[in-house]
Symmetry: C2
Subunit: 358 residues, 2 copies
């Protein structure tokens, strides 16, 4: 993973009529057979997908039977795929998942941080409290790991807490299962790719955008997944479509888009400018990474533009998505000072052509 060649500019930040900043990146749109339908930039360089692949990491939770064994709800399964805002209902759902498996917050190894959602920060502070691991944006994913581990320990009649300890390590049976699901879905050799430690301390494996998009085409269609993973993917997509607030939170892109478009889109942000999505009705998966990675602002614009270009949308839905792909920047006095806009390469025929060519 060396310096990239020069990826195209995908987003402009305008102030007044002038380009103030710009964001480069790469995009892959792939079908479930692994055929590339459209691409911009370098899609073969491995990138760390970070939280964008939480749905892949949650496949073993469902396939193993742990989700059924502990009676996890749609809300809780959506939380297992989430980078949530640490709002009270997120933290409560994570606690409920743990309780169903007979565990509590002390089992979580993701670390604590202040909630992402402003309102939740203020709620915790006003109550004179400190955030816990339940407020960590990954607490649902980790609660899912704990549920999976509890089932694995039951199966082997082991002390569950002792078995769970260190579940974030690459060689722990829980993490081996999670990594195997990632490898199966992406088809990328994870034993021979850069590996890092994620924000929540589990390993993150670098995967080319082409393979990430392929994995999401598989998640959206079931094609190319083994039967257990295909059923799990369908279950997780349905859960997120029923409880989109749980996958992100108040005012956030993934929740808002899936509240609006339901199962037509499954999209998930990752840190450092990564986004993945499945567009099941088209049989396509999408993966993108902004070079600068800094935060989600440019990645959201690109994902919105891709949804617009690829998915046939009613006029009102198009207007809704355009609110993200051509968004007003407003200052502290509420004055519109600029716009955040998808750049010309995203509006080219070559991106939309994917659908016709499918």
């Amino acid at each position: 993973m060396t310096s990239t060649p020069t990826n195209p500019v995908l987003v402009h930040a305008l102030r007044g009529a002038a380009i103030e900043s710009q964001h480069r990146g790469a995009i892959a749109v792939v079908d479930a057979d692994g055929t590339l339908h459209s691409a911009l930039g370098d899609t073969r360089r491995p990138v760390f997908p970070r939280s964008a692949v939480k749905v892949l990491q949650a496949l073993p939770l469902v396939e193993s039977g742990a989700a059924e064994r502990y009676g996890l709800t749609d809300e809780e399964l959506a939380l297992a795929c989430a980078s949530h805002g640490g709002e009270p209902q997120h933290a409560q759902a994570a606690a409920a998942m743990l309780a169903k498996a007979g565990m509590d917050v002390s089992a979580l190894e993701c670390g604590a941080h202040w909630p992402y959602f402003d309102g939740a920060i203020k709620a915790v502070a006003t109550a004179g409290q400190q955030p816990t691991a339940l407020n960590n944006n990954c607490s649902g994913k980790h609660a899912g790991f704990v549920c999976l581990g509890c089932l694995m320990a039951e199966g082997h009649d082991r002390d569950r807490r002792a078995f769970l300890s260190g579940y974030i390590k690459p060689d722990h049976p829980v993490m081996r299962e999670v990594t195997a699901a990632l490898q199966a879905a992406t088809g990328h050799d994870l034993t021979n790719t850069p590996v890092g430690v994620d924000g929540c301390s589990i390993p993150t494996f670098a995967v080319p955008l082409h393979n990430l998009a392929h994995a999401f085409a598989r998640v959206g269609t079931g094609v190319g997944l083994r039967a257990g993973h295909a059923r799990a993917a369908l279950r997780l997509r349905r859960a997120v479509a029923k409880a989109p607030h749980m996958v992100a939170g108040t005012g956030r892109f993934d929740s808002r888009v899936m509240q609006r478009l339901g199962q037509r889109v499954f999209c998930k942000v990752g840190a450092e400018g990564v986004y993945c999505a499945a567009l099941p009705e088209l049989g396509l998966g999408v993966a993108l990474k902004m070079d600068d990675g800094n935060n989600a602002r440019a990645a959201e614009v690109v994902m919105a533009a891709l949804i617009e270009e690829l998915l046939p949308l009613a006029a009102a839905d198009l207007v809704f998505m355009r609110g993200f792909s051509d968004a007003a920047l407003v200052n502290w006095n509420g004055i519109e000072v600029g716009r955040l806009q998808a750049a010309p390469p995203l509006r080219s025929a070559s991106v939309a052509r994917a659908v016709g060519a499918g």
Copy 2:
């Protein structure tokens, strides 16, 4: 201000041993005669300097005599040049500046926002309060505008509050004075350049990095400024060196660097990845802009690397600066997961050569 040509990669974000993200940008290092000493990328494209030029915008406050008339302290003058964290002492100093001119928070037209500093957010929330315009990161700059306006109104025997109203507008006498100072220092024709509205609602004029660096060489030396501006620049630099906490705040780059290096560096961040600095002992000014602009993370790395490369530093100071130019990235469990590093072009002889060639 069209899309830039391809500026070089100046910062790498590593996760493990792999490059996860990268930041492109441009740099100009210029002396007080306007001679370019070193450059990377496109330094002729006008960029919005945003808050990086607050010291230039504060020149009229001092030159006019308003700072002396109202007895502004070092802390208050530093605050006039600040993008502060909205901490209690920042808000209190802004209130004190206004009180000295017989005004209060209602005179500020910058808008209110939650403080930048986490501890200040929690303090406001815990007290059950809402932030005011005093917490706005620009409140000191605006309090300075109000002081300048009050003196101008006195001089003309006008009702001060009526005179001040709309001081954020380009054609208001206060803002005309501020813009004239910016034009004089940068030597760039502001009547013929892109203009936008800044976060705090005053105009921001696009200026090439070359001219911004030239302006900061002038601020650091007084050379090329008219006598009143030269005296004002010296007064403001001294004030900031005496009260560096006021120019940014707890844990923030500008405060920490100037607490350490005193008057050897005057540096100031701007939104969207801009940084300007004066290195008075070298007679040099520095200006940089990261293409992606997203937040300050990459701009700080570049500014730290430039200070290291340009300024002769004692070993302990070099280690201190290296903590910014090659910084550990730590996750929620306190594990080092990567590094944020100045890229090779910044470590090249061509950057450091500026000094020898001076």
